[in-house]
Symmetry: none
Subunit: 203 residues, 4 copies
Amino acid sequence: MTKNLTRREKVKLANREAILSAAEEIFAEKGFYAATVDEIAERAEFSKGALYTYFKNKEDIFLSLVLDKVDKQKEMNQGLGASLAPMECIKRLIRAHLKFFEENKEYFQIITSERNRFKPGTKNKLRRELMKRFQSYLKDVEGLMKAAIDKGDLKNLTPNYLAIALIGIINSFTAQWIFTGSESSLQEMSEVVTKLFLEGAKA
Amino acid sequence: MTKNLTRREKVKLANREAILSAAEEIFAEKGFYAATVDEIAERAEFSKGALYTYFKNKEDIFLSLVLDKVDKQKEMNQGLGASLAPMECIKRLIRAHLKFFEENKEYFQIITSERNRFKPGTKNKLRRELMKRFQSYLKDVEGLMKAAIDKGDLKNLTPNYLAIALIGIINSFTAQWIFTGSESSLQEMSEVVTKLFLEGAKA
Amino acid sequence: MTKNLTRREKVKLANREAILSAAEEIFAEKGFYAATVDEIAERAEFSKGALYTYFKNKEDIFLSLVLDKVDKQKEMNQGLGASLAPMECIKRLIRAHLKFFEENKEYFQIITSERNRFKPGTKNKLRRELMKRFQSYLKDVEGLMKAAIDKGDLKNLTPNYLAIALIGIINSFTAQWIFTGSESSLQEMSEVVTKLFLEGAKA
Amino acid sequence: MTKNLTRREKVKLANREAILSAAEEIFAEKGFYAATVDEIAERAEFSKGALYTYFKNKEDIFLSLVLDKVDKQKEMNQGLGASLAPMECIKRLIRAHLKFFEENKEYFQIITSERNRFKPGTKNKLRRELMKRFQSYLKDVEGLMKAAIDKGDLKNLTPNYLAIALIGIINSFTAQWIFTGSESSLQEMSEVVTKLFLEGAKA
DNA sequence: AATGAATGAGGATTCATTCAT
DNA sequence: CATGAATGAATCCTCATTCAT
């Protein structure tokens, strides 16, 4: 699909990626408002004006970036469900999540910082779109939970709650990993997270 | 303690609170950068200039606000440990947390949004101070975990991990509660949260 | 004249003086614009509001201050002319000037800094007044010069030029004295100044 | 030297000059503080924002302006000393000074107004730099005086005093020329100034 | 009279966006 | 297409002045 591109198109695409990658770093460091287009341009090694040939405006850069990643994260879920046993799915889901955040820690930072700004009612079309995908992503995890409950693998609790709890644990470990300097590998936490989520803290 | 104030002093204190309260709403809605001093002033029903007789600058408003709340949240923890059985402590901690966030949802939004900006290395003195208190707060929860482990009430896992997991679950429920419109009471989630944290999801 | 004051009036007058004295220091340090009413009030150990019971506004403080001093400086000249020989007059004038500036160095700084702002055409009534007095002061010195020329004591040059030159020398010595820290006495310069003015630099 | 510029660079340079020129007028009229960036921009026929692509801030405009001129004034002195007889040097110095001030009367006004603010101890690096050049300029004049004394052309007085006196006379004539409307040529004063400085006022 | 909190106009500065080259 | 200078709206902050107490 992404084949059959002229050289020109390939360059454009690569440039776009370079800009998004620079933007990701800056947005993660400073947040949407404190980040400046100048800074993004500089980090991307483009002129400020060039950014405007690739993107409509600052917000477009931001949302393009986030939508991309949200989709990738969603794909991750989809590659899972398949034919596996629900329990195995959950284990893989946890590992996949931690891997994804380890490889996309800027994205994680952006999301946790800006999520507030994307509450229902947001007018902007792109933002609504973003919200839709967030929720659809949560639904996917919920689906997994529901399947596991039906199989008798998980307690019969509201799937929504189970999804919230799991995502909460994952996010919390990720946040702390980033905060403390992220030297070690976040994926190594998979087992603790899995154990805590499935078996709880009680002795 | 806070007695023996002249009428004037009482007014000043009340005004200060009013400003902080307005600021809390605005900062929660928009984040530190997108919030404008004008808007805070308007919401507080003061002139722009008045804010500057109460606070040094925008950041001072922000940090005063957050430091206040962090301290209150910390006090909450301290009222706990006492003579209770560790297990009971944890239950109460969960309930107290949810209650606190229910009553301070703006604070919750602020914290989750801006935490990134408070990474170690931050130069500003007040910000360093804030970080110190965040960490000290986490340590308190860890302490509780450790006590429960020693009692044989919790699994013998790194207390730090247990604290991270618990806080993650609480935050995640809070975030979702806020996101979905926060009609019902967040405290009602206490039991689910406790159950999930202690017994895990597995059937 | 300034007798027969009630105690109250005496206090008012003293307060007024105190404010002007504080203002003098601040205006000398920072200039009219950079000086703030707050700072003057603080230095005078009055509340900001109090200043406004003594003076109409910031400019009023400034001009009251300057007019006062200009008048004193003018009086100085008048005490001179009298019955003395012109040459003696000039010597005394020089000494008197240096003494006056030594004792009023803040005033000197203010005048040299703000004189530009008082060009002809200035609308403000008080400022016009100030300009009038400046010029009348120059005229006095010119008068002395003229008398000395008529007596055959000074070269037959335009008295205006002689006055300008003399004042220039005096100001320049004063400025340098202030600039270098004004440790020694400025009056000690009287003889050099007199010699230079009267006999010139040539060997 | 200042060749080999692209057209763009030439435009930039010209714009910079235009801004400095506008600033010179405004600063001369009102002083550093009372001058507004808006006004400078308007006079230069640029937008406010444009000034900030050429200069870091208002102070940078001011100091760039002044440093430029101080250097030019200093160059003037250097072109002098050379092989000439000291007496001739002094005559030329006087004429050159008056010419320079005639052509740079805004600069003269700025300097006399703001010199106070540049006392030793000023923290700012650029301001220190400015002070250094002022003093170095005075030293140059002193040097000339010393040479003339050594030649037996001038009275054996402290060269510093001679320099102060000469500069004082020049400044005073310049100030009066500006004050009275500067219709005639200031350079015409050269002979009076020279005569007064060298031969003094005494008949 | 004295106080100092409140006001709000005004000013420096930043930055997303546009556009001539 | 790319550039980066120019724009001007938006924002933080200051400070002279007023006024209720």
